[in-house]
C-alpha cells in the first residue's frame, strides 16, 4: 500500500492552495468555505485557518451533507441507506463565492450532488471546487479549480484520505489494484 501523500506533504499542499485562493480571488471579502461531509469538512477548516494566517481575515466555514441528494439513493438492490448527517451552513450563501471542498474527486457524482444541495440554500455568486486528490475517471463534466495532487489510478484501485480529525493521522494511501 503506497503512501502517496504524508502529513508534511498534505500540510504544504493545503498551504499552497490557501495562497492560490487568496491570489485568484484578489482577497477573501465575499468568500465562504463549505466542506462536503465527512472528510471535506476538516480540510475546509484547515484552509480557513491557513487563509486567516495569510490575510488576517476569517472566512465563514460550513459543512454540507449530500446523502439526501445522491443519485444512487434507492437504487441499491441490497444494502442499508447511507447515514444522514447534519448540514451546518450558518451564513447566507447568496452573492458569495463558495469554495466547495472535498477530499477526493473521482466520478464527479458527489460533486454533482453537492452542487444541487448547495443551490437549495440560495444563489451564490459562483462556486469553485477544491479537492485534495484528483484521481481521474470522471463520469460527469466536472472539473476542479484547485487540486492538491493529480493521482493517476485504475478503477480497481481505491484512494484513502486519512485525516487527523477523523482518522487520527494524516495520509493519502493508494490501495488495491493489480496485486
Amino acid at each position: 500500500m503506497p503512501v502517496v501523500m504524508d502529513a508534511d506533504r498534505i500540510g504544504r499542499t493545503l498551504a499552497r492552495i490557501a495562497h492560490e485562493i487568496v491570489e485568484r480571488n484578489k482577497g477573501v471579502d465575499d468568500l465562504a468555505l463549505v466542506g462536503v461531509r465527512r472528510r471535506g469538512v476538516p480540510i475546509a477548516k484547515r484552509l480557513a485557518r491557513a487563509i486567516k494566517e495569510i490575510t488576517g481575515h476569517d472566512v465563514p466555514t460550513g459543512a454540507l451533507d449530500i446523502t439526501l441528494y445522491r443519485d444512487d439513493l434507492m437504487r441499491h438492490a441490497v444494502g442499508p441507506q447511507p447515514t444522514v448527517r447534519r448540514t451546518e451552513i450558518q451564513f447566507s450563501i447568496d452573492n458569495r463565492k463558495i469554495l466547495l471542498v472535498d477530499d477526493v474527486l473521482y466520478t464527479g457524482r458527489t460533486t454533482r450532488a453537492a452542487l444541487d444541495a448547495l443551490i437549495d440554500y440560495g444563489r451564490p455568486k459562483g462556486i469553485q471546487l477544491i479537492v485534495l486528490v484528483d484521481r481521474g475517471h470522471r463520469e460527469l463534466p466536472i472539473k476542479a479549480d484547485y487540486v492538491g495532487k493529480n493521482l493517476p489510478t485504475s478503477p480497481e484501485e481505491s484512494v484513502q484520505v486519512r485525516l487527523l480529525e477523523i482518522d487520527g493521522q494524516d495520509e493519502v494511501v493508494l490501495e488495491g489494484g493489480g496485486a
Binding site: 466555514t61 460550513g62 459543512a63 434507492m74 438492490a77 444494502g79 442499508p80 447534519r86 451546518e88 437549495d120
Partner: protein, 326 residues
C-alpha cells in the same frame, strides 16, 4: 463565526433498520431507536432551509390511509413525505369505497395493485397494521392502531425529550391520564424503558390496566407521587369516545384530582418539560396555564413530528429491499 461550530458526529451503532415495516416500538432495538432519532436531527435541519425539500424519495409513492380522524398525524406525515419529494396520496375514508362496505384487506390489495411504495395506516382496530403487513409488499407505517401502538408519536416524544435533556437514560418520566385506552402510552412505555428512563404512570384506578407493571413501570393513583422530582410530565387525553362505561364521576372531578395545574407542577424538577400528544382537553387533563406555560413543549412536539417521520420514511425506503435480499 462558524469556524468554531462543533463537528462532533454521533457514530451510529447501527446504520440501517432491518425491517420492512414500522408496526410498533416493540419491534425496535435501542440502537435502531437511536438511529431514527439521529437521522431525525439531520432531517430537522431540512425544515429550516429556504427550500424545505430534498430529492431523497423522488419517484416513491406513499399512500396515507386514515380510517380515523386525525389532523396532526396526517398533516405531519404528508409534510414529511413532501419534504422528501415523495408523491403522496391521501385517502379520506368518508369519500372512499369503504362507505360501500369494502373491507380493509380489499382496500389495501386494490391500492397495492397500483404499486405504492409505502402505506401509512391509521385504524381504530388494534392489529390492523399487522394484517396489512402480511398481505402487502409495500412498507406499512403504523400511524396509530386502536389501543395498540402509535410508534411515530413515541419517537417524536423521545426526540423532543432528548433535544432538551441530551439523553433519556435515568430520567423520571411521569405519564398521567387515560392509561387504559392509550396507544401513545403503550408505545411510549416500550420506547422509554428500552432507552433506560424510569417511567411512572398515573391515573384513576379504573383507567390503569391491571397488568401494566409487567412492562417495567411504576403505577400509582397519586399525582403528587408521580410528579415529585419528575424530569418530564406527559399528559394523556381523556378519550371520551372510547369510553363505554363510567370510569370516573365527572370531568370536573377528574380535573380536581388528576388535572395538571401550576401548583402540582411545583413538585417536579425546576426544568421539567410538559408534554401532550394532542388533541388537548383544556381544563380536564391539563390546565390552560400549564399548556401555554413556560415548561410546555407541546408545540415543539408537533414541529419535531415532521423530522421524525421524515427519518422513518427515509430509513424504511431502503429497508424493505434490504430484508428481501437478506
Amino acid at each position: 463565526m462558524t469556524t468554531a461550530s462543533t463537528d462532533v458526529e454521533r457514530k451510529p451503532a447501527v446504520t440501517a433498520l432491518r425491517h420492512k415495516d414500522l408496526l410498533g416500538i416493540v419491534d425496535l432495538t435501542a440502537e435502531e431507536i437511536a438511529l431514527i432519532l439521529d437521522t431525525a436531527e439531520a432531517m430537522k435541519e431540512v425544515g429550516t432551509r429556504p427550500i424545505k425539500k430534498v430529492p431523497a424519495l423522488r419517484g416513491k409513492t406513499v399512500v396515507n390511509l386514515f380510517y380515523e380522524p386525525s389532523t396532526r398525524t396526517r398533516t405531519s406525515f404528508e409534510i414529511a413525505e413532501k419534504r422528501l419529494s415523495a408523491d403522496t396520496l391521501n385517502i379520506a375514508i368518508g369519500t372512499s369505497s369503504v362507505v360501500k362496505g369494502e373491507t380493509l384487506a380489499d382496500t389495501a390489495l386494490n391500492l397495492e395493485a397500483m404499486a405504492p411504495d409505502m402505506i401509512v395506516l391509521r385504524h381504530s382496530s388494534s392489529g390492523a397494521c399487522h394484517l396489512l403487513s402480511r398481505i402487502c409488499r409495500s412498507a406499512i407505517i403504523n400511524a396509530g392502531d386502536g389501543m395498540h401502538e402509535h410508534p411515530t408519536q413515541a419517537l417524536l416524544d423521545a426526540f423532543t425529550i432528548r433535544e432538551r435533556k441530551k439523553q433519556l437514560k435515568g430520567l423520571k418520566v411521569a405519564i398521567i391520564g387515560d392509561l387504559l385506552h392509550s396507544r401513545v402510552l403503550r408505545s411510549n412505555i416500550q420506547l422509554l424503558t428500552k432507552m433506560g428512563a424510569q417511567v411512572w404512570v398515573c391515573g384513576p384506578p379504573t383507567l390503569i390496566p391491571t397488568d401494566i407493571r409487567r412492562f417495567g413501570v411504576t403505577a400509582t393513583s397519586s399525582v403528587d407521587e408521580a410528579v415529585t422530582d419528575a424530569d418530564v410530565v406527559m399528559l394523556l387525553r381523556i378519550q371520551l369516545e372510547r369510553m363505554e362505561g363510567a370510569y370516573f364521576p365527572s370531568l370536573r372531578e377528574y380535573f380536581r384530582v388528576f388535572g395538571m395545574t401550576e401548583a402540582r407542577l411545583r413538585q417536579a424538577k425546576s426544568d421539567v418539560m410538559i408534554m401532550h400528544p394532542g388533541p388537548m382537553n383544556r381544563g380536564v387533563e391539563i390546565a390552560s396555564e400549564v399548556a401555554d406555560g413556560p415548561y410546555s413543549v407541546i408545540l415543539d412536539q408537533v414541529a419535531n413530528g415532521v423530522a421524525v417521520r421524515m427519518a422513518v420514511l427515509y430509513l424504511l425506503a431502503g429497508g424493505a429491499e434490504h430484508e428481501e435480499a437478506a
